[in-house]
């Protein structure tokens, strides 16, 4: 098993739910090929530095995972077939120094993903309250 990182740029023309669905599909292709996802980090909708397939913006999502080196070619082949993905970048973390950096990045991503969920929990009752108020 070796440590990898994948950056995936999803089409901006999709709706929010479709983006989440396609990200889930991306994560499934990794897990179904024997990869273990350590952390994910969604960088959100960003402006691209140059247009990709006539799109000026894109939804950036980063996945940190460990997988067997032989599985990477299959994962990349699946990414090429997927039409929702504008661009993907696979990075290998091989040397001791890089592996150390990978663990730090995973911790950072986990902290970042842990923080918004607590916010979401606090936000969701408010939304319900608003819905109730609207119903009344």
């Amino acid at each position: 098993m070796r440590n990898y990182e994948n950056l995936v740029i999803v089409k901006p023309t999709l709706t929010a739910e479709e983006i989440q669905a396609s990200i889930k599909a991306v994560e499934e292709t990794i897990t179904s090929n024997g990869g273990e996802i350590a952390a994910t980090d969604s960088m959100g909708m960003r402006k691209l530095a140059y247009p990709l397939a006539k799109n000026e913006r894109g939804y950036f999502h980063v996945i940190y995972y460990s997988a067997a080196p032989s599985a990477i070619s299959e994962i990349e082949r699946r990414f090429r077939i997927n039409e929702d993905i504008l661009r993907f970048v696979t990075i290998k973390y091989d040397t001791n120094r890089e592996v150390k950096a990978w663990h730090q990045l995973v911790q950072k991503a986990q902290k970042k993903s842990a923080a918004p969920t607590t916010e979401a929990k606090t936000e969701s009752p408010k939304v319900e309250e608003a819905a109730e108020a609207a119903a009344e």
Binding site: I9, K47, A49, Y50, L52, R87, V89, I91, R97, A101
Partner: protein
């Protein structure tokens, strides 16, 4: 011989900060080694050491592939404030 000492003695800023690893997603940190036209700055101007110049060049090339940093800036495709979406 006197003309040789035209520039100030430069040092590697990455060595001073003891940078062991650079992340290509951290675009703000790459700005130091990029020119106005987003070319990779040469070592003789930035004073980077060989080891860190090699690191920064691979990292910038990765960021270019990921559409975080432009490959070129021409008159036609002018990037107005490309780091505006950085927090």
């Amino acid at each position: 011989m006197a003309e040789r000492r035209k520039y100030k003695k430069r040092y590697c800023k990455y060595c001073e900060a003891k940078v062991d690893f650079m992340d290509y997603k951290d675009v703000g940190a790459l700005r130091f080694s990029l020119s106005e036209r987003y070319k990779i700055m040469p070592r003789r101007l930035t004073g980077n050491c060989k080891r860190h110049q090699d690191m920064i060049s691979t990292v910038i090339k990765r960021a270019r592939a990921a559409a975080l940093v432009p490959y070129t800036v021409t008159r036609k495709a002018v990037v107005t404030a490309p780091f505006e979406n950085l927090k």
